[in-house]
């Protein structure tokens, strides 16, 4: 699997790396036990500071997506796909909560918000 970063994108580079590895895990391209390149290799290939890649790996490790096994290197963790789902769900819940708080402060009632969400979901379901 290849990874692509855009140094001029508003999303920080380390988050781009995290997101793409998470996507790889979710899609099954990066199965449990798949070895990942060392920080130095990835940083060299992407012409990045090693700390940037190390930060991405650290975040993924904290999320339980990857694990570092000493000199054996870094691997996709068993059950990583579930962890990615859990992380994504948590992020989505936080985003929705922030959005609801914002809508409430704008004066919308919970019924109105619920209706908006349901119609948005229905629209999304239609594709």
């Amino acid at each position: 699997m290849d990874i692509e970063i855009n140094a001029e994108a508003p999303e920080p580079v380390y988050e781009q790396i995290v997101r793409q590895i998470q996507e790889g895990v979710s899609s099954g391209t990066l199965a449990a036990g798949t070895p990942l390149p060392p920080v130095r290799q990835l940083a060299n290939d992407l012409v990045l500071n090693r700390n940037t890649v190390a930060r991405a790996y650290k975040l993924l490790e904290d999320q339980g997506v990857i694990q570092t096994a000493g000199r054996k290197g870094t691997f996709v963790r068993l059950g990583a796909a579930d962890e990615v789902t859990r992380v994504k769900t948590g992020q989505a819940e936080r985003s929705v909560r922030r959005m609801i708080e914002s809508l409430v402060s704008d004066g919308l009632s919970t019924d109105q918000i619920s209706t908006i969400f349901q119609s948005a979901l229905a629209l999304a379901a239609k594709g």
């Binding site: 290849d2 990874i3 970063i5 140094a7 990942l36 390149p37 060392p38 290939d45 012409v47």
Partner: protein, 292 residues
């Protein structure tokens, strides 16, 4: 008669150095720019064309190559006498040819290195690194290029070879006064080839990988890996000489010929490697020729 072998090898070495190597540089120039920033290359076709059309470094190299070959041929045909050594004896022919080849290589380094560094700095200043960059998430290891059993056999040979030198030293089974210097050289060579092989495995992807395709790096790694077998072969012969106190054959001469032949082969191989048209740089080059 055997002088002709030396002459042929050193002539091939000089041809590779002064004629093949510039050809590789020429072939790699635009792909290297593309590798750094394909968008910039596509947006500045005029600058790229101007830079790519510079010919003077190549003519300089070809000129030096012709002079070097002429000097080597003069030595081979007896038109250029070898210098005298300290004891008043003329330098052996093979050593004279080797000295001339190494002198020519030194000239190539002294002349070529500043040009190379200046070009590199110019391009670095001129072409910004692309904002979009790609990399593989596949971990590179020696195992993907060299079978594990071959690694084990090679490293076993390297260790046995080094242990044999130490053992001979400890037992006093050696005949020359520079035995421990030779031990140090063997350790240094083994460590150097090991480190170089590792560096080839982990080195940053470059234009060569994209131009020559996925089989390029494994080939490069196998080539450098194979150099690790040289210290045990050379060392075994040298150690036999040390232990028996006899000279098997002129080992220094053989090593120098082997090294020159290896470098010439490497350059010739890179110059003739087929370009992988399905990947990377060739696609970029097509895009690069389009107006931005």
């Amino acid at each position: 008669m055997t002088d002709w072998i030396d002459f042929a090898v050193y002539a091939a070495f000089l041809i590779a150095l002064y004629f093949v190597q510039p050809g590789i540089q020429r072939r790699m120039f635009v792909p290297m720019l593309v590798d750094r920033n394909a968008g910039w290359v596509a947006a500045h076709p005029e600058i790229v064309r101007r830079l790519a059309s510079r010919r003077w470094p190549f003519w300089l190299s070809y000129g030096l190559g012709v002079v070097s070959l002429a000097v080597l041929a003069s030595a081979q045909f007896g038109l250029l006498d070898p210098p005298m050594m300290g004891n008043g004896v003329a330098l052996p022919k093979w050593m004279w040819l080797w000295s001339l080849a190494m002198g020519a290589m030194l000239v190539a380094i002294v002349v070529g290195a500043p040009i190379g560094v200046a070009s590199h700095l110019l391009l670095k200043r001129l072409v910004p690194v692309a904002t979009r960059r790609q990399a593989t998430l596949e971990r590179r290891s020696l195992d993907t290029s060299v079978p594990r059993w071959m690694q084990l056999v090679t490293y076993a040979l390297v260790l046995i070879h080094l242990a044999a030198w130490i053992l001979a030293g400890v037992l006093g089974a050696h005949s020359s006064s520079i035995f421990w210097v030779r031990v140090a050289i063997m350790f240094f060579l083994s460590a150097t080839f090991f480190v170089v092989t590792r560096a080839m495995v982990t080195r940053r992807s470059n234009a060569m990988d994209r131009i020559f395709g996925p089989s390029y790096r494994p080939w490069e790694v196998r080539m450098t890996f194979s150099t690790q077998i040289l210290p045990p072969i050379i060392g075994a012969l040298r150690l036999t000489e040390e232990v028996t106190g006899t000279q098997l054959f002129d080992l220094s001469r053989a090593i120098q010929l082997l090294l020159a032949a290896f470098i010439a082969y490497w350059m010739l191989r890179i110059a003739t490697l087929p370009i992988d048209r399905d990947r990377g740089a060739s696609e970029h080059l097509v895009h690069a020729s389009d107006p931005a």
